[in-house]
């Protein structure tokens, strides 16, 4: 086995050194009634070449592949990934390192994460950003728990129904066992969230909105901040598509207290939904209430600039059950990848790319309207929107699939009251010709 370097002679020499007669004798402390007695029935070991064939066959059994035009976002977006990022993020000095607990041998990871924190803070308009959480959904759950910690005695949070349904499910799983109450806020005809009832809710620690929301609509974050703060709650702004802030105002500049969401759009493949990147930031006064790791700048004994993990007294290994979270890792290489992507785009590039996503998605909207479809929500959108077709869309969608196009996500299983409506996503990877093909099929 090529991963196991021991020769039989070395094993014998080492057994002699430890005073054991056999490898099995090393396990003498394991009682017989704890032992594995069943065979595992695993397939015979594969050579490297057989493994390539095996994965190739699995890939071939997928109904869609990398050539398919997938006009579905819903929290997982197809953006072009430059080869530089694959190469640099694949450097084994980054990839095969552990958490930077020994900063003298991990300055690459540490400066890289410090730069990630900085670029992400600038993007989201917040004062501080942590070294990342598992994904957008768990970041939202942690943000609401953080809101509850800051508010101390309050037991209730409100979340918009226009937040990704899977994110709301994760919030329920995290909050309900501890006895917290979750109120859902309805969606208006504009596609924005109805904040009218907030004043009637007492005991409210935090209110969460997503923008662009699950229906693609940009929430009115300024008015939301005013209403939420008026109700005495913290404003948690969440997102699944951070590229939108290359064009639209970011949540921090609109008054959000905690900003969190999914960073997969920045250089990470969709990869069936993971690994993803939970981005998480807040206003400065709340820094010490944050979950997750933080990298900070300092000096070494000779006065040189360097980086360390810091403010660890918030974390589980020091504070045990009183920690701000149980999280004990971050999505290290994913955060570094996102920083590489932001650095590759630059301030000029992110505006250009965001604008292209917007223009192309508006182009498809207009084509579909001309073909007789209705855009369900009137509010402004970024690269996703909800469509209702005049006739049954399913046969059209089947015909498009035969042309290697996945045309939108049907919403009925996620929102029963929206059955027959479709959520579309258009990024820079969807060219004009594909959109013209879709419109032609709809009009046919």
């Amino acid at each position: 086995m090529r991963y196991l370097p021991h020769t039989p002679e070395e094993i014998d020499a080492m057994l002699a050194a430890v005073g054991a007669a056999s490898l099995d004798e090393l396990f003498a402390s394991v009682p017989a009634d704890c032992r594995m007695t069943r065979a595992w029935d695993l397939p015979a070991p594969k050579t490297e070449w057989e493994l390539n064939d095996h994965l190739r066959a699995l890939a071939a059994s997928m109904g869609v592949n990398e050539q398919t035009a997938v006009l579905v976002g819903a929290g997982s977006y197809h953006h072009h990934i430059p080869e530089t990022i694959r190469v640099l993020a694949g450097r084994s000095e980054f990839l095969t390192a552990y958490t930077p607990y020994q900063p003298e041998m991990a300055q690459g990871t540490l400066q890289g994460i410090f730069e990630y924190q900085t670029l992400t803070a600038r993007l989201l308009g917040v004062d501080v950003v942590n070294a990342s959480m598992y994904d957008g959904a768990s970041a939202l759950a942690e943000a609401l728990l953080m809101g509850l910690r800051i508010a101390k005695k309050k037991r209730r949070v409100a979340v918009a129904r226009a937040i990704h349904p899977h994110y709301r499910a994760v919030v329920r799983a995290y909050l309900e066992p501890a006895g917290f109450e979750i109120v859902e806020l309805d969606t208006l005809d504009s596609g924005r969230t109805d904040l009218g009832g907030l004043d009637a809710l007492d005991d409210l620690a935090a209110v969460a909105l997503q923008s662009p929301n699950f229906f693609g609509v940009i929430e009115d974050l300024d008015s939301a901040a005013a209403a939420i703060h008026q109700a005495g709650a913290l404003f948690v702004a969440c997102f699944t598509e951070p590229l939108a802030y290359g064009l639209y105002r970011n949540p921090g500049s609109c008054g959000a207290d905690i900003v969190c969401g999914e960073g997969q759009s920045f250089g990470l493949p969709r990869s069936f939904g993971g690994p993803n990147l939970g981005m998480f930031g807040c206003k400065e006064p709340f820094t010490r209430n944050m979950p997750g790791r933080l990298v900070g700048e300092t000096r070494d004994v000779e006065g040189r600039r360097g980086y360390v993990l810091t403010l660890a007294t918030r974390e589980q290994h020091i504070r045990r059950e009183k920690a701000t979270s149980n999280i004990c890792s971050n999505q290290g290489i994913c955060a570094l990848t996102a920083a590489m992507y932001m650095a590759s785009l630059g301030g000029t590039g992110i505006r250009q790319l965001a604008r292209l996503n917007y223009d192309r998605s508006e182009y498809l909207k207009n084509l579909l309207i001309k073909a007789g479809a209705r855009i369900v929500f009137a509010g402004p959108t970024f690269n996703e929107f909800v469509v209702e077709f005049a006739a049954d869309f399913r046969p059209v969608r089947e015909r498009l699939l035969a042309k290697n196009i996945v045309a939108g996500l049907e919403l009925g299983t996620l929102y029963p009251d929206m059955a027959g409506r479709y959520l579309f996503c258009v990024t820079e990877t969807i060219d004009r010709q594909t959109m013209d093909t879709i419109a032609a099929e709809v009009g046919a």
Partner: protein, 492 residues
């Protein structure tokens, strides 16, 4: 001895490199952006943001920046990384390729089951393999990390007790358990009750019997424990907990010691998480992502997170119709790319290879223990599993600490072991070599530590000021925490 005459670490060619935003010029770009092939659309100016304050860099600016940063880092591919409790084994390169298979890397997580048969099959087969390997009946691959698996386990405890009709408020956690355990339990509202291990580093069933009552949800055990020792009386402990209506959680972080040796179900464990980034060779990524699948008995299967991956006839589908489930704990299907790597590892190793890996991991740890125990204090002198724990007791006369010895190892080209953990050993130095280190490399590491012990006596200042050969030397962590500088200044 070669370790002293020619250390692994050299000064090397190490470049200085500024922060990203001190590089570049406005108007450069590091990425190609498709041309606009559609008309510009109108936009509401009131919603338009300020330009984002990112530096503009060319492609080579980005490439040199990250290449230089990477050269300040040390990974498993650079050298031995004997970090106790972290299982820093070799990360096979082919696994990276498999995760990057184009149709798999491009798979969207929310499409219809019939379009995702390949990825669903992979999940199903990995679940089945992990069930067989642990001896448990059912597996969820959703948890994104070990601590996330612990949280999922506690959610399962909570949901199960609720289903039994009475919620409980406490949970037993031994002092040899992982640090995340109390924080994970607290998220479910459980109050952690600590249990002290005995003078052999073992958990005493009598103590468990004393503390276990009908207001206690169960126990969280790490086995082998964080001293690297096997909890021999685990079945007895499990029986005590079960008799009072509690459940047993097994932290499988140390599974690399016991593949093919223990059967978690026969040990009495009801819920166990695995760290695929430890035992199953996926890279640690400088902090993540990992994966922390949760394995349970058939009795607890209804409580696993949704969706479940099930097989019907010859095809696979997602099933969310599980009314007792704890719900969803990840937006999609967990850290799927990591699962592909672990799946590839299992297919490569096979049953015999995996079992041999544990045997060699334990051999390597015992070999280091035997070769160093005459110079380093060994608080629990018993056969160990995959890691051994020393302390700095012998060096106290020279006022040399574990930290000093760890930092000196860096100069010799080794990543230090885990230090000051487990907490039950004062000044702990916890060494986990893993099975992928060969005898020659272990011998060199042993010789290096012996050299350092001698330096502690003869030139203690060399240790106190170490490391000497790195890009930066000891960093002021107190200052970093006192006046936190967590993001760089804005250009304005």
């Amino acid at each position: 001895m070669s370790a002293t005459s020619e250390p692994l670490g050299t000064g090397g060619l190490i470049f200085n490199e500024p922060l990203l935003w001190h590089k570049g010029r406005k108007g450069r770009t590091g990425m190609s952006i498709p041309a606009g092939d559609v008309p510009a659309a109108a936009i509401d100016d009131a919603l338009l943001g300020e330009p984002v304050d990112f530096p503009d860099l060319s492609e080579i600016d980005v490439v040199r920046h990250y290449t230089r940063l990477s050269q300040w880092n040390f990974g498993v591919d650079s050298g031995m990384y004997p970090l106790g409790s972290c299982t820093m084994k070799y990360n096979p390169k082919t696994n990276e390729r498999q995760a990057a298979t184009p149709a798999i890397a491009a798979a969207h997580p929310m499409l219809a089951d019939e379009l995702c048969q390949g990825t669903l099959r992979l999940l199903f087969e990995l679940q089945r393999s992990l069930a067989a390997i642990t001896g448990l009946d059912a597996v969820s691959l959703q948890p994104a990390a070990g601590a996330h698996g612990e949280l999922t386990g506690m959610l399962i405890f909570h949901a199960w007790h609720r289903h039994q009709g009475a919620q409980r408020r406490k949970i037993l956690i031994p002092d040899t358990a992982h640090g995340t355990n109390p924080a994970s339990a607290a998220l479910c509202g459980y109050q952690a009750v600590a249990i002290k291990s005995d003078d052999r580093g073992m958990l005493d069933p009598a103590l468990v019997a004393e503390l276990m009552d009908e207001d206690t949800a169960g126990i969280m055990l790490t086995n082998p424990n964080t001293l690297g020792l096997f909890e021999e009386r685990i079945r007895e402990i499990a029986a005590i907990v079960h008799a009072k209506g509690g459940l047993v959680y097994g932290d499988g972080a140390n599974m690399n010691a016991v593949l093919g040796v223990i059967d978690a179900k026969r040990c009495g464990i009801d819920v166990l998480h695995l760290n695929l980034h430890k035992t199953f060779s996926t890279p640690h990524g400088g902090g993540g992502p990992g994966a922390g699948p949760v394995c349970v008995t058939s009795e607890l299967e209804p409580f696993l997170p949704v969706p479940r991956v099930v097989k019907e006839g010859g095809s696979f589908r997602l099933d969310s119709d599980r009314p007792l489930s704890v719900g969803r704990i990840h937006a999609f299907h967990g850290n799927f790319g990591i699962l592909v790597r672990a799946y590839s590892y299992i297919l490569t190793m096979g049953e015999a290879g995996l079992k041999q890996a544990s045997r060699l991991a334990v051999l390597n740890a015992n070999y280091i223990k035997e070769q160093l125990k005459d110079v380093l204090h060994l608080p629990y002198d018993r056969p160990c599993m995959h890691e051994c724990v020393f302390s700095d007791l012998n060096q106290q006369a020279q006022k040399i600490t574990t930290l000093d010895m760890a930092k000196r190892l860096i100069d010799y080209g080794y990543h230090p072991p885990t230090i000051y953990f487990p907490l039950v050993v004062h000044g702990a130095l916890m060494i986990e070599p893993t099975e992928t280190e060969c005898k020659d490399d272990l011998d060199q590491f042993i010789a290096t530590l012996r050299t350092i012990v001698r330096e502690a006596e003869e030139q203690p200042d060399l240790l106190r000021q170490a490391p000497h050969r790195t890009k930066v030397r000891r960093l002021d962590e107190v200052q970093a925490a006192r006046c936190p500088c967590l993001i760089g200044p804005s250009a304005g």
